[in-house]
């Protein structure tokens, strides 16, 4: 939305982490435009369905193109756009339910293709839009509206999942730090290949994790957020596994595989190998 649109009738709750992610994405896109000299219209934001996906309507300033589609399918929609138009900068914004539950089947194939897009996942450990049901990242045993006696499945570790699926750039961030988060998103967009920036973006209404993340000295709660050390070697997959298994909320680029061809590169190779015939030549081949 370029200006405040009175017809648009969705609002994030006060304190929702998604505000910070929106800021971060605005910073990252603005920086990219400045750096590359490209127009804002060459950016496409493909949004999932959830509170998080509404980000696509709430961006301020010059507007990118947006696609707010159906639940769980933001990745393959982005795939179609990027495959058709490698010149565009394609960003996915989606929630933990959208990306990891209903849409989970689409992560592996994009990783295998090394699809050159950046996905920003807003993980609040809950289904916000549908009012507080459990999500894949909700902890075992948690009471939610859909798990009245406690969740009976174990939560997944998204960062570890991405590593195992072969995603070529994985970063972990926090919505409460828009500037550093913007840097991670910018790095993800610059990365040639499939990048995921997984963001803890607390839901103040159904799963307020601010205290767990930032800690509370009065209550004696240690912060779970921690910076990746300067000497973390992001190209070392074993080191990355070490990071994602050590618990808490790491901040930084967990893993980056350099030099791997992207789907764009491989499409270009294929186009060289397969000289396109004209419709007439193809039709002539059926002639008696």
């Amino acid at each position: 939305m370029t200006t405040k649109n009175p017809e648009y009738d969705f609002k994030w709750c006060p304190g929702c982490g998604d505000f910070g992610v929106r800021r971060a994405l605005e910073f990252a896109m603005a920086e990219r435009i400045q750096k590359t000299g490209s127009a804002m219209e060459s950016n496409v934001v493909v949004a999932g369905i959830g509170c998080s996906g509404n980000l696509v309507h709430l961006l301020e300033g010059p507007q990118p193109f947006g696609f707010h589609g159906i639940h769980g399918r933001s990745l393959p929609i982005a795939m179609g756009t990027k495959m058709a138009r490698p010149d565009l900068n394609v960003v996915v914004v989606a929630g933990d339910g959208d990306f990891l539950s209903i849409g989970g089947e689409h992560i592996g194939p994009q990783a295998a293709r090394n699809l050159n897009i950046c996905a920003v996942v807003m993980d609040n450990g809950v289904y916000g839009l549908t009012k507080g049901q459990s999500s894949p990242t909700t902890e075992l045993g948690t009471n939610t509206s859909s798990t009245p006696y406690g969740k009976i499945e174990e939560s997944i570790n998204p960062l570890e999942l991405y590593l195992t699926l072969g995603v070529s750039f994985i970063a972990s961030g926090f919505s409460g730090q828009p500037r550093p988060l913007a840097k991670l998103i910018a790095q993800g967009m610059d990365h040639p290949g499939f990048s995921i920036v997984h963001v803890q973006s607390p839901c103040t209404t159904y799963n307020d994790t601010y205290e767990i993340i930032k800690g509370n000295s009065k209550k004696g709660i240690e912060p779970s957020i921690w910076e990746l050390p300067e000497d973390h070697d992001a190209s070392d997959k074993q080191a990355a596994y070490g990071v994602v298994r050590s618990g808490g909320l790491p901040i930084g680029v967990v893993y980056q595989q350099e030099g791997r061809p992207t789907l764009d590169d491989r499409q270009a190779d294929l186009r060289e190998k397969a000289p396109l015939k004209s419709a007439q030549e193809l039709l002539d081949a059926f002639q008696l």
Partner: protein, 566 residues
């Protein structure tokens, strides 16, 4: 005895070259100017399993596979048992003399493989068979020798062996002294001809209309379209690719269509079901794309290798909510080409999804068709927005130009109900406006052509899709026999051409032959206030003309007698 029409069925086990033999015969006969059509069935397993393919050769255009067999080529005993009853009286059964001779005076044993080896090429058994067939209908062997020369041009050894095989087959059959008539010489059709299958024709139609982007997932009987595109649609600005599910296919088309490409996929019933939500998204977000459903028997995994026309209702209403998806259903191999052109053009013109319904029997049918003149093919493209930023993409009650990423007019293509700029809204007046806007665009698709013969008759025959061939053949026979009946036909099922619908509404009865249990097209017509009744069949096979005629007469008589309440 002179004959103008010749039907031969090759039956055996998967892997025995049944399809190759039938297609080779069709190719050879069409290359000298006969009209041909094949009809293929497939075994449900990869190796082995009973299968058969039929070739019909005629001096005039072939409409249906042919009810009765002039010749059955039985490659094993099961094939003999399964098919001998369909051989007409006076017909012949050529069987492999390797297996025990059936006690049947119509049977002629031929040692196919042994003669092939004798000819010097173990893989030339098909030529032995074709040689024997040539004798049975007294066709000059020279026709086939020419064909062999062309097919294997430059490979002299193979040519010699195949020609020898043809002759050995011919001579062997001559020894039996049986002949079933003399096929009249071909009347070469005017203009250049193609020998092409339905799947290839609709692929070519879409390519002729400017297709840019194809993603798909393998499924019978649509897989050949994917393979054709992967081979032929990769180049500058174009791409074809196998993705990981039909959900990815439809989402990929949405992304590509949004990004300005002419995008399509081909699938069958199970894939169409998975695409349901995405097709609805394409309707509400106004993204052009084309989905081809090559129907097979359903539901669920259903009958993957058999033909049926049971996805019509699913195609008309593939998605939840207030949607009406344009549907085009070609009825012949030639119409597959023009249907492909039209379907892609429609999607671009009205900026939304179009479904093209083909079916198993058309998909694998090889037929000679007049070569389309690409100079005459009109390729339409969506109207693209070229103004400045701040554009209201969904403003107004009718179609409006579409902005393309990278260009001006950034907006949000939205699957939630939205306002003029694409932002989500729940205002009642917006849902009214947008719903009417979307439905108004269907008016742009009311230009579909239709066929009408004897339009004054109060009782009409109107089939759809691949039942067209047998239905025309039945219709022509009935008219010749003095029956009174109108003929209507269109491949544009939604929206139906308004003038056609007007005429249908004035009929006492519209008789609808279709291959499904519920009578899906007649029930659609009834919902449009047409008095329609179906003749249904759900065997996995196409109609036979004789049977169809009987049922048409019965229904017409019942209507005249006041017994049809339609």
């Amino acid at each position: 005895m002179q004959t103008r029409d010749f039907v031969v069925r090759f039956a055996g086990e998967g892997g025995q070259g049944v399809v190759t033999a039938a297609e080779m015969l069709a190719r050879a006969a069409s290359s000298v100017g006969y009209h041909v059509q094949t009809f293929a069935t497939f075994p449900s397993q990869i190796m082995g399993g009973p299968t058969w393919t039929q070739t019909r050769i005629s001096t005039s255009p072939v409409l249906s596979p042919g009810d009765d067999l002039d010749v059955l080529v039985a490659l094993n005993h099961e094939a003999y048992q399964g098919h001998n009853e369909e051989v007409r009286s006076g017909g012949v059964i050529l069987h492999d003399s390797e297996f025990e001779s059936p006690d049947d005076e119509r049977a002629i044993g031929v040692p196919f493989d042994e003669l092939a080896k004798q000819a010097g090429e173990a893989r030339s058994a098909n030529m032995v068979i074709i040689g024997a067939l040539a004798h049975l209908v007294d066709m000059p062997l020279a026709f086939f020798e020419d064909f062999v020369q062309k097919r294997f041009a430059g490979r002299e050894g193979i040519i010699a062996a195949n020609v020898a095989a043809l002759r050995l087959g011919y001579e062997h059959a001559s020894d039996s002294e049986v002949q079933i008539g003399q096929l009249e010489p071909p009347v070469k059709p005017e203009g250049e001809q193609l020998l092409i299958k339905g799947n290839e024709a609709l692929s070519m139609g879409a390519i002729a209309a400017g297709l840019d982007f194809y993603v798909g997932y393998p499924i019978s009987p649509a897989t050949p379209v994917l393979l054709f595109m992967e081979r032929n649609l990769v180049g500058p600005g174009k791409f074809a690719y196998q993705v990981s599910s039909e959900i990815e296919s439809i989402a990929g088309l949405l992304g590509a269509g949004f990004a300005g490409k002419k995008a399509m996929t081909a699938t069958s019933g199970p894939g169409l079901s998975l695409m349901s939500e995405g097709i609805g998204l394409s309707w509400i977000a106004e993204i052009p794309l084309l989905v081809i459903d090559v129907q097979r028997g359903g539901p669920a995994t259903g009958l993957p290798t058999k033909t049926e026309q049971s996805d019509l209702q699913a195609a008309l209403h593939p998605a939840h909510g207030d949607v009406s998806i344009p549907v085009i259903a070609p009825g012949t191999v030639e119409e597959c080409f023009y249907g492909g052109v039209m379907a892609l053009n429609w999607s671009e013109r009205y900026q939304g999804p179009v479904i093209l319904l083909s079916e198993m029997s058309l998909a694998e049918k090889a037929q000679n068709i007049p070569k389309p003149d690409l100079g005459q093919v009109v390729s339409e493209s969506r109207e693209v927005y070229t103004g400045t930023n701040g554009y209201l993409r969904y403003d107004g009650w009718e179609l409006s130009p579409m902005p393309i990423p990278g260009g001006p007019g950034a907006y949000v293509a939205n699957g939630s109900e939205h306002d003029a700029m694409g932002d989500t809204t729940h205002l009642p007046e917006r849902h009214v406006q947008m719903t009417e806007r979307r439905f108004s665009k269907l008016k742009l698709l009311e230009d579909g052509p239709f066929e009408r013969v004897n339009g004054d008759e109060p009782i009409a025959l109107m089939t759809w899709g691949g039942s067209k061939g047998p239905s025309i053949e039945a219709y022509e026979d009935l008219i010749t026999e003095g029956h009174k009946l109108a003929w209507y036909y269109t491949m544009c099922l939604n929206p139906l051409p308004p003038a056609l619908l007007e005429e249908l509404r004035s009929k006492d009865l519209v008789i609808v032959p279709e291959l499904n249990y519920q009578g899906q097209f007649s029930s659609y017509l009834r919902s449009l206030s047409v008095k329609a009744e179906s003749i249904t069949q759900f065997t996995g096979l196409p109609f036979k003309v004789r049977e169809l005629k009987k049922r048409i007469i019965a229904l017409a008589e019942a209507c005249k007698g006041g017994k049809v309440a339609a």
